[in-house]
Amino acid sequence: MSEAPPPPPPEAAPQADSAAERAALDRKTRRAFQVLIIQRGRNPGVKGWEMRRYLGKDYKRILEVLSEDLKPLGLEVHQVPGAEGTDDSTRFLLRFRDPPTLAEAETAGFRIDDLAVLAASIALVNSKQGRISRKELESFLKTKFPRWRIDYAVDRYIKRGYLDVDDKELIRIGWRTRAEIDERSLMTLILAQGAQTNTK
């Protein structure tokens, strides 16, 4: 018995498969964008388990593709680890890839003094092992800012999620700070600014 020659490689079928795969990926990427851009609950972002439900188990790859696609628009998909540290509790959200200028920040309703209060608060909370009593924070801020501004700003940032108050009434870093601010850079920049001032 002679051996039958191997069948010619089917070319049309893989091409169709690949096109279908590409179309499915595009569809899922679009879906991921829609899910992320529309605010659903009180806080922005979508948790890992929800993403899996919307996009399937391969959701992380789809979000990576979306993040690349959003590059020209100056946006990125950012993930904030959840309290449990699992994939399901991780929160995904869209955020600016590059930081805005100070003037742009001001047009968003933040005054320079308010931003300075927030920067000082985040840096101080981080330096104090991530928790500080409100009294201690306020008494430190009072050395640099007027009292009425501190009360107003601290309340505002707690409400917006930049700072958080735990059951022991201690101020902690809020979820929005974790999502929007590169805390390590902030600490480094503050220290660097100080060095520049000293040199001057």
Binding site: I37, I38, Q39, P44, G45, L75, H78, L94, R95, D98, P99, T101, L102, A105, E106, R111, I112, D113, L115, A116, L118, A119, A120, A123, L124, N126, S127, K128, Q129, G130, R131, I132, S133, E136, F140, T143, K144, F145, P146, R147, W148, Y152, K168, L170, R176, A179, E180, D182, R184, S185, L186, M187, L189, I190, L191, Q193, G194, Q196, T197, N198
Partner: protein, 256 residues
Amino acid sequence: MPEREDRDRDKKLEDILRLIELCRTIQSSSVNPFEVDVREKLLVLKKHLPDWDVIDVMLKDSEAMSQLVAIVKLQDQWLKHRASALYIDPLLLELKIQLISKEELAESFAKCWHPVAQIDQLTPKGLEKAFVYWRELVPFGERFKDQFGSYGEQAGLIGLEELESLSIFTREEFEARLNVIHRELLEKSNGKEIDYRSFIQGKDPEETALRGYLVAFVVTEGRATLRTDPMTEQIFIQTIEGKPDDETKSVAIAVR
């Protein structure tokens, strides 16, 4: 002898209460949790344990134990944080923040800020909720009738004449107070601009409002002028010597 035993027992109970208090204080402040010598405290609890025969004291003992567990947890977090890249000596950081200007602080913040992008939109469900809320909202005039009745004045303006008629001010007292605050402004500003809000700041909100009211008269009389920085919206006040400019305008400033 029984008295001495009682005293000993009280002393031991006091030890436990003091330990609970210490642990609570550490947990509700940013003090280093390693200030608590957990091993030593555990030995104290172990030593006292055979003496307890009342359930209430035993509960206190277990509470102290639970507080020590919380301290150990805190010590673990403290070590993890200290080992992380976010750790900076608080004293150094406080000093740095004191040294740099508000603008530099804000600039540092803006450089590492990536705002979240999202669309806030009104959904049909939200619209329905708003409609139901509005429909069921009791008119303002009716809302507090149960608590306060229907009498009372609505918010409005009150003039100096009315304040005089209510015996809140007399003309002489008002003039004297105006002169006092003007003199204070002259001394503090020394011919330069100073922060308006810091100047009117009183011991309590009432005093702040009163000082703001008096300063408004000083400005109206042309003895001082206000300027708002368009970038920071900070308001400055400065005394005027001589005749004021013709280009004056009225502004409303909210006093908190």
